[in-house]
């Protein structure tokens, strides 16, 4: 009886092994799509091996499409327009695509396998995106939950970006991540410092990347990042500028202010920075210093719930209330916002009521 059982198990194991082998052979032969051509923006042609996802194939060709989830189809960032060569939209793409995006042939590049020649459209600026290796030159605490990380670039040794753009920082495998994960952070340094990238990273409870940065990353550690990305940068005009941020939303604004100071851009500018108590404020001296460096700039920090020991003599209340009090009119003004969706929505309401048209309100919304 026992012998028969062992025999049956043996036969089943043998069948499984043969089936597995057949699967491997099939994957290498039947599913071998051979060389295919990807035409990008009707100009650039890439000859690549078919069978992989569009996202990973482009990455291997050093074309980086923003992606925060490592190709799992959960972040919805890696959208590209596929004009030819894609099949029907996959069920895994549907939650991330609006009706209009589907009509415009927008696809999630991490879900789309390349099986034949393909024609795609991507923003021209993505050709400027590169992968960088660097080393952590400095880590300093800005507040109890925000750290400033300065990364000196090694290879390539220089980055070109517009003030306000962001990069994706890689968190390597560690206790909480069994594979590398990328998360996006705005650059806070000036574009003129091509040799380094400075980031302001706020701890997110249970966040994989921010926990790594706050609890594991040390000065001297090697890091990998890619970028730059994003449409959040100062528009070329003569209008008055209103900047609004809170917490680590300060990063892109600081980069823009540094760039304005270096380029001697003398546009009238106001910066409303919202915090709860004095311990949530940071880089106060640097921000005040911009008032000297820029010809017509005012920094307006505001505390929503100052405590007695803050000895606060500045503006109080929610940042939206402060804007409402301090901003006379929205005429000939444009606004730059960085923060949570709730903060952005509340600020847009106040700014439009002041007369700033929505198309002149630029924001870096995190979600």
């Amino acid at each position: 009886m026992l012998n028969e059982l062992f025999q049956a198990v043996g036969i089943l194991s043998a069948i499984s092994a043969v089936l597995s082998l057949l699967m491997v052979i099939a994957d290498r032969t039947i599913a071998n799509y051979g060389e295919v051509t990807i035409t990008i923006n009707d100009e650039k042609k890439l000859t690549v091996q078919g069978g992989s996802t569009l996202l990973s194939t482009l990455m291997s060709e050093e074309i980086f499409i923003p992606s925060a989830c490592g190709g799992r189809g959960s972040c919805g960032f890696c959208k590209v327009r596929v004009l030819e060569g894609a099949g029907d939209t996959l069920p895994t793409e549907l939650p991330h695509l609006s009706e209009e995006e589907r009509r415009n042939s927008i696809r999630l590049s991490c879900q789309l396998k390349i099986k034949k020649d393909m024609k795609i459209e991507i923003p021209e600026e993505l050709f400027n995106v590169k992968q960088f290796r660097g080393v952590v030159a400095r880590i300093r605490d800005l507040t109890y939950d925000i750290k400033e990380i300065t990364i000196r670039l090694l290879e390539p040794a220089e980055i070109s970006f517009k003030a306000g753009q962001y990069v994706q920082l890689e968190t390597p495998e560690y206790e909480l991540a069994d594979e590398p994960v990328y998360r996006a952070y705005s650059v806070s340094s000036a574009p003129s410092r091509k040799d380094l990238v400075e980031l302001e990273i706020r701890r997110v409870p249970n966040g994989i990347c921010t926990t790594y940065v706050h609890d594991y990353l040390k000065e001297g550690d090697a890091v990998t990042l890619n970028g730059p990305y994003g449409e959040f940068y100062l528009r070329d005009s003569t209008r008055r500028i209103v900047f609004i941020a809170g917490g680590s939303g300060n990063a892109p604004i600081k980069s823009i202010l540094s760039d304005m100071a270096e380029k001697k851009i003398g546009r009238k500018a106001l910066y409303f920075f919202g915090a709860r108590t004095a311990k949530d404020l940071f880089l106060q001296e640097e921000m005040k210093a911009f008032e000297e460096q820029l010809s017509d700039f005012t920094y307006i920090p505001a505390l929503s719930e100052p405590v007695e020991e803050d000895n606060w003599g500045g503006e109080t209340g929610l940042i939206t209330d402060v804007i409402d009090r301090r901003l006379d009119t929205g005429e000939e003004t444009e606004a730059y916002l960085c923060g949570s969706p709730g903060m952005i929505a509340a600020c847009i309401k106040v700014l439009t009521a002041k007369g700033i048209p929505e198309e002149r309100i630029y924001y870096d919304k995190f979600a």
């Binding site: 959960s74 939650p95 991330h96 994960v181 997110v204 915090a275 600020c347 995190f366 979600a367």
Partner: protein, 155 residues
Amino acid sequence: MKQTVQMDKIQASMRRGVITLEGFLGTDTRKLVDILIDDDAEVRRLGMSHEAIARRMLELKQAGEAGLGEFVTVGEQLEVKVDAVRGKLPCPFGDPGIFGKVNTTVRNKKTKKEVTYTDLHIHMIWAHGFYEGKGSRFRLEPAELIDILEVKTDE
């Protein structure tokens, strides 16, 4: 109650690396149906409903949004912060729509305890009574939620 084929599929999508890096199940080896039944029993034992818990979570999130990314005092004992990071997540149960990675952190000054939950948590508790598996870093214990958030019964 028996685990259906549909639930098998949902449980598969909750594993590590499918929707999120860590998944929704942690070290829990129980079937999804058993996780749901056990948490449902716990919530009932505490004299609450999933809807009441989720409604309170939503109410506090909405109140916390006034802080525009910073902590704001809500009522006498609670401090609430609503913050967001880049990215979106679909519901593992396959419900339509996607949820921004919006984190609501609630501190209870009386109990000196704190809890952080996402918009997806609110949805999963409200619609499915799902608090994530045991051992998941993002699991919310119903008893802790009720305590920290000062959830009141439906009456």
